[in-house]
Amino acid sequence: MDLSALLTVGQTALELGLICSLTVLALFLSYSMLNVCDLSTDGCFTLGAAVGAVVAAAGHPLLSIPAAMLAGVCSGLVTALLQTKFGIDSLLSGIIVNTGLYSVNIAVMAGSAQINLYKADTVFSMTKDLLAGTPLAGQSITVVAAVAVILTVVFLTLFLNTRLGLAIRATGNNPDMVRSSSINPVFTTIVGLCVANAFTGLSGCLMAQSQKSAEINIGNGMVTIALASLLIGSTILGRGSTFVRAVGMVLGAFIFRLVYAVALRLDILPAFMLKLVSSVIVALAIALPYLKEQWPIISRRLTYKKTAVGRRGN
């Protein structure tokens, strides 16, 4: 692989990594902080893509961003209400919302499974005009995505250190403590999921516009892919301040995409393997610490069996 090919691979990984890292940051809030595995992420990502594409296609590329984020907030609100006010298990509420969103997303796209943006202005085509003639010309996707990621990281760092942010973290960290303190866990869960899903929606919106199309399956497997990136990120930069950890999330997303893109480029893996790879990473990353903890018992059992024959002889 020559240098220019490598650069192209790096470029693609950077763009995809940055855009998807917004979803990873969303899970950083819901999964790492609030301790809720939000399985509505796939649907919410598609919702952001669909809403963003519809608004951009209507000629309002700038408006598409707040619209997609607001759609994400609504989706998060429904998920949060189901698990806090209606006694539905948090995993199940995510699955229910995810399923429902499939219909909602097609409805948003006026009954079709795809929206084309080839003729429409997007945030990226607008930036492209702005960047013409500067050293960053041709890098509109990277620039827009980087700005979005930086703003999100800064926002999360500030937000998680406000009283509300601390309360959200405590809700995920020690529900017992929160129940007997003056924090209302219902409120913190709702706020946390709404904010997280706003970023998932934003992520989907940018993804659709960078690909110049939104389609109903754009978010499939997103939650696992984002979790894989999150776990890679927290392995690299899992300790330290909120800022450091948030940066780790972005790095994780980039590394995941880079490794995958290289594997793809070198024909190690066909493109359809992306989801299996992310599943294996998530399963391994969560299973390994558990198995490590269990190892003394497992190894004792193995040696116990080996010597069992001798014991019976006595």
């Binding site: 500030l158 250190n161 406000t162 009283r163 509300l164 601390l166 309360a167 973290r169 405590a170 960290n173 020690n174 017992d176 403590m177 929160v178 129940r179 007997s180 303190s181 003056s182 924090i183 209302n184 866990p185």
Partner: protein, 262 residues
Amino acid sequence: MLNITHISKTFNPGTVNEKKAITNLSLHLAPGDFVTIIGSNGAGKSTLFNAVAGSFLTDSGSIVLDGQDITFLPEFKRAKSIGRLFQDPMRGSAPGMTIEENLALAAGSGGWLSRVSQKDKKRFRDRLALLDMGLEDRMRQPVGLLSGGQRQALTLFMSTMVPPKLLLLDEHTAALDPGTAEKVLKLTRDIVAEHRITTMMVTHNMQQALELGNRTLMMADGNVVLDVSGQERAGMTVDDLLRRFKAGTGKDLDNDRILLSD
């Protein structure tokens, strides 16, 4: 300060597991009262605390705290005026957050979007130094690294940073080693005395029940069977207490963890 009038609570009503945890219990606490509570297994001590703190709503009766009817107030709203410590020292603080962050939450000042100022941090440090546990030098460490005793002291500190109207201590030193328990107990006494907080404390140490505070309750079968204070309590020994318990309930105090003396 606290007026509990004829409250009852039955768990699993109408099933084979039906348990009348509290039966028609009434209790009045004057401002500044420090009440110690002892009782048999399943006498309803923790259930009483749960009812007051709002972990569940009672089946009947009313609870009034400092003039405010809190009978139907949700737990998190009661928590603004009620501090609570459990036997498990891990329950009261968030292990994944730093000492500073835990204190910032407990301080409870400012709006939701406010951040902890440098001045607040300094104030936390200075006050934490009074615990004499070296915690003031570990402000940025996660609470999960502290020992059980340190965490319980921190929880006590956190729940009294804004002095509550009522402090509920549910055997909060029982899971600590004797030395640490002694220290946390001294701290409890100091903080309660300093802010004159109305306090209820469940203990299984009979001697402690008589020494601490100004009033002792004994509970059995979901009600208060003995309530001593003042002159009567001053001259009381553990034996007197046991005798009075038997006279009141017709049976011996049955608690597999009870300590008759130190």
